[in-house]
C-alpha cells in the first residue's frame, strides 16, 4: 500500500527534542496521499459509495509517522555518547493508543496527513496524527495516537534499499 503516499516532509526541532521532558513538540511531519475511488480493494467498501477504511487511514498515518519517528531518533542519536551510537533504528508500529474516525472520507480523496510528537522515550515514540482532505486546516477526519517501538534496523537487504529509495522519492516530491 505504499503507492498511496505521494510526498512527505519531515521537520525535527532539535532544541525541543533535547529540552522538553516529554518530547512533545519536537517536530512535525506532513504527508500527502491520493486514494482513488476505483481502487480494486475498495469495491466492497462500499459499492457505489467508496469510503476510506479506518484501517487504511491508520496505515497512511503510520507510513508518514514512521519515517518521522526514525528521523527524530537519528537526531537524538547525534548526541548519544553510548557504544550503540550510529546504529540506525527502525520505527515499528507497536500500539494504536486511540483512533477517532470523526467523519467519513469519501473517495476519491487528496489527503493531508500531519504527525506531531506527544512523547519521546528511549525506545518508544508516541505521535498524534491527523488526517483530512487537503488542506488539513479545513477539517480533520481522523485523529490517532500511535506509539512506535524503535528496533535495530536490518542492514544490507534489498528491502532496506527499496525503503530508502521510496523515502527519498517522497521527500523530493513534497
Amino acid at each position: 500500500m505504499f503507492e498511496l503516499i505521494e510526498a512527505i516532509d519531515i521537520d525535527v526541532d532539535a532544541g525541543a527534542l533535547a529540552g522538553a521532558a516529554s518530547g512533545a513538540g519536537a517536530g512535525r511531519a506532513r504527508g500527502r496521499a491520493w486514494v482513488d475511488a476505483n481502487h480494486p480493494l475498495l469495491r466492497d467498501h462500499f459499492p457505489d459509495a467508496p469510503v476510506l477504511p479506518g484501517t487504511w487511514a491508520l496505515e497512511l498515518a503510520a507510513q508518514v509517522a514512521g519515517p518521522f519517528v526514525e528521523e527524530l531518533d537519528r537526531h537524538r542519536d547525534q548526541s548519544n555518547p553510548g557504544p550503540d551510537r550510529g546504529r540506525p533504528r527502525w520505527a515499528v508500529l507497536a500500539m494504536v493508543r486511540s483512533a477517532k474516525l470523526k467523519q467519513p472520507l469519501w473517495l476519491p480523496a487528496a489527503l493531508e496527513i500531519e504527525a506531531r510528537t506527544m512523547r519521546v522515550d528511549a525506545a518508544t515514540v508516541t505521535v498524534r496524527v491527523d488526517i483530512g482532505r487537503a488542506p488539513l486546516s479545513s477539517e480533520v477526519a481522523v485523529t490517532a495516537e500511535l506509539t512506535f517501538g524503535l528496533v535495530e534496523a536490518p542492514a544490507g537487504s534489498s528491502a532496506v534499499a527499496q525503503r530508502e529509495a521510496r523515502l527519498a522519492r517522497w521527500k523530493a516530491a513534497f
Binding site: A21, S22, A94, M95, R97, R119, D121, A122, T124, T126, T147
Partner: protein, 140 residues
C-alpha cells in the same frame, strides 16, 4: 488534599481501563500489574498516559529510577545495567508493599516498573503532585 487511599481509588479505574478489564476482575492497592494482570511495556506506557491526563502531571522516562536512586549517585545505585546491593535495598524500601519474593538477586535497571503495585503508581503520582506543589482534588 487527596489522601493516599483516594489516589489508589482513582488509579485503579485507570489500570482497569488500560487493559479493558471489567469490574469482575479484582484490582486492589496490592495488585501487581505486571505479575497479576500481565501488563506489557505498551500497557505501562498507556497507563502512564492515563495517569498524566487524569492528574495533570508529567511522568518522564526514568522517574521511577530517579525515585529509587534517591540521594545515591548513579555508580552507587547501578553498575553495568544492574542495581548494586545498595541500589537493590533502596528499591525494596521504595516498593515495600511488593512481595519480597518477586525481586530477583540481580535487578536490571530497566525493569523497575515490573515490581510496582497499583499503590506504588499512586505514590508516584502523589510524589509528582507534591513536587509540582499542587493540591488536586479527585474529580468525578
Amino acid at each position: 488534599m487527596m489522601t493516599d487511599p483516594d489516589l489508589v481509588a482513582a488509579v485503579i479505574p485507570l489500570v482497569r481501563d488500560t487493559l479493558g478489564l471489567g469490574e469482575e476482575v479484582a484490582i486492589s492497592a496490592g495488585t501487581l500489574p505486571f505479575y497479576d494482570l500481565r501488563f506489557t511495556s505498551m500497557d505501562l506506557l498507556d497507563l502512564i498516559f492515563r495517569l498524566e491526563e487524569r492528574f495533570g502531571v508529567t511522568i518522564p522516562e526514568g522517574t521511577l529510577y530517579r525515585l529509587a536512586r534517591g540521594d545515591l549517585d548513579d555508580a552507587e545505585f547501578c553498575a553495568q545495567g544492574h542495581l548494586t546491593a545498595q541500589g537493590r535495598s533502596q528499591l525494596l524500601a521504595l516498593l515495600a508493599d511488593s512481595p519480597l519474593a518477586i525481586f530477583p538477586d540481580r535487578i536490571h535497571a530497566a525493569t523497575l516498573q515490573r515490581f510496582c503495585t497499583v499503590a506504588a503508581f499512586a505514590r508516584l503520582v502523589a510524589h509528582l503532585l507534591a513536587e509540582a506543589g499542587r493540591d488536586r482534588a479527585c474529580s468525578s
